[in-house]
Amino acid sequence: MSATMKLTRTEGRLFARDPIALFFGLVFPGILLIALGYLFPGFDEPSADLDGKRYIDVYGPIVLVLGLATLGLVTLPPILATYRQFGILRRLRTTPVHPARLLWAQLAVHGVVAIVAAAFAVGGAVLAFDVPVPERPIWFVLSFLLAAASIFSIGLLVGALARTTTAGQAIGMGVYFPMLFLAGVWVPRVIMPDALLTVSDLTPLGSAVQALEDSWFGITPSAMNLAVMVVWAVIVGLLAVRVFRWE
């Protein structure tokens, strides 16, 4: 087995040994969606507020993005900061394996967890509440991957800037909550005032929610939403690579 595969397997095991990360990263989005559907009266009935959609339909894409944000902004940055603070990255530099491979391993682990978490949430919504299987599956998968790329880029940048585990947690949280607000977790985008909606569109999470919702319900995502995610992924990703320090 190659060193990169071994690193990824080891990092995957370490992730699986962290019960909090495992709960919030893997099963929380699905549980949240199903709980909302069962607990809130009228959650699975068409609503005039939502242009005739049901809350459960609107919240599907929101919990998918919430799951990505939890992994990318809450779980990932402290891990990267810890690895730098503990000298794990520096130690790797004295071996034939470049520490960048450890970052790729972390991104791979978070990516796999994100996909499983999304499958669980989508599957739950489809089985429990008759939400349709995503109607434009290719656009849906593409939107999800772009959302993951843009959100993980931000997490990588936070992990690059934070010197300690605590700083990684604090900065990550500081980005997480405003981003979730703009993604429509508390005020869904369809009922956002226009000005707020424009700001939301310019964030990767807001555009991700819209692109996922569109492709889920048979509409080709707008080029603007996709472009916002690409721009964030590329610019923030390059910035993260530029400012990243191994020690």
Partner: protein, 310 residues
């Protein structure tokens, strides 16, 4: 032929020269010690040898390789333990070793390494459950898992209790017996004296001396001290009259007579003549600690009240 050749190494941080023209050679198969006060430039020196730091000036050759330019080849052949470096809390000992073994072209058998370092039975233990000594022994195992020709160990025993320290020392001696050249950064003189074939003393970025432990002690003079309580009082002047004696000090009821040459014979003969019995007699020689303090200009700490006569 030396396996490490460092010439005129210079490195500054924010305009301050941390390493200022350090040169040394390490011979194949020896344990080479680097000692010096905190901030003397020891770690910067070894990290430059490991290729972790780009020197401002000077040349470094390790096994004929340039540490910055030939990184891949160098990392295959040089194992390192870094100061203040740790592993993930939840990683298991066996997993860490298996992982690091997979990085190298010719890995050592990590199960055997575990046995050799006294960590047998710990393969399934998580890193956070290990004691300080076990963590350091694991760091040694990770430094050796690539079957290196050179192992560089930086402050390996700092923070360990004396028992754990001694057991790590035995491990280092085993590494040497296996034919691996060892570079050992330490600030414990006892450790350097016990393990090192040669020692380089570094202070404020410069080499103060490079020699065998005995050679370093010899440099600061072969002074010996006799410490005893005379059964009846004896005049200091009678002792200082002896050509071998350079000073006499009082420490409570004890006398400390210092000097060179055959001072033991001279003093004991005089005492026998005067029918004075030297009770609680102890003979002290300069240690590497004394030599180190003299070479780095640090102040020795005296034990108890001593009054100088003479």
């Amino acid at each position: 032929m030396p396996v490490i050749e460092v010439e005129n190494l210079t490195k500054a941080y924010d305009g301050t020269k941390v390493v200022d023209g350090i040169s040394f050679d390490v011979a194949e198969g020896e344990i080479f010690g680097i000692v010096g006060p905190n901030g003397a430039g020891k770690t910067t020196t070894v990290e430059s040898v490991e290729g972790l730091r780009q020197p401002d000036a000077g040349s470094i050759r390790v096994l004929g390789l340039d540490p910055m330019h030939d990184r891949y080849e160098l990392t295959q052949r040089v194992g390192a333990q870094l100061q203040e470096s740790r592993l993930q809390d939840r990683i298991k000992v066996g997993e860490a070793l298996e992982l690091y073994a997979s990085f190298y072209d010719q890995p050592a058998d990590w199960h055997e390494l575990l046995d050799r370092l006294g960590l047998n039975g710990k393969a399934g233990a998580s890193y956070s459950s290990l004691s300080g000594g076990q963590k350091q022994r694991l760091a040694v195992a990770l430094a050796l898992v690539g079957s290196p020709e050179i192992a560089i160990l930086d402050e390996l025993t700092t923070g360990l209790d004396p028992q754990a320290r001694r057991s790590v020392w035995e491990n280092i001696e085993q590494i040497k017996e296996a034919g691996v050249t060892v570079v050992l950064v330490t600030h414990f003189m006892e450790e350097a004296e016990r393990l090192c074939d040669r020692i380089m003393v570094v202070d404020r970025g410069k080499v103060v001396a490079t020699d065998t432990p005995a050679g370093l002690v010899g440099r600061v003079g072969a002074e010996q001290r006799l410490r005893f309580r005379p059964s009846v009082p004896i005049e200091d002047a009678d002792l200082t009259a002896l050509p071998e004696v350079t000073s006499v000090k009082h420490s409570g009821s004890q006398l400390i007579v210092a000097g060179t040459g055959n001072i033991v014979h001279a003093v004991t003969s005089l005492l026998a003549q005067r029918r004075v019995i030297a009770e609680e007699l102890r003979i002290e020689q300069n240690s590497l600690e004394d030599a180190y303090l003299a070479l780095t200009g640090a102040e020795a700490i005296s034990n108890g009240p001593e009054t100088e006569v003479n």
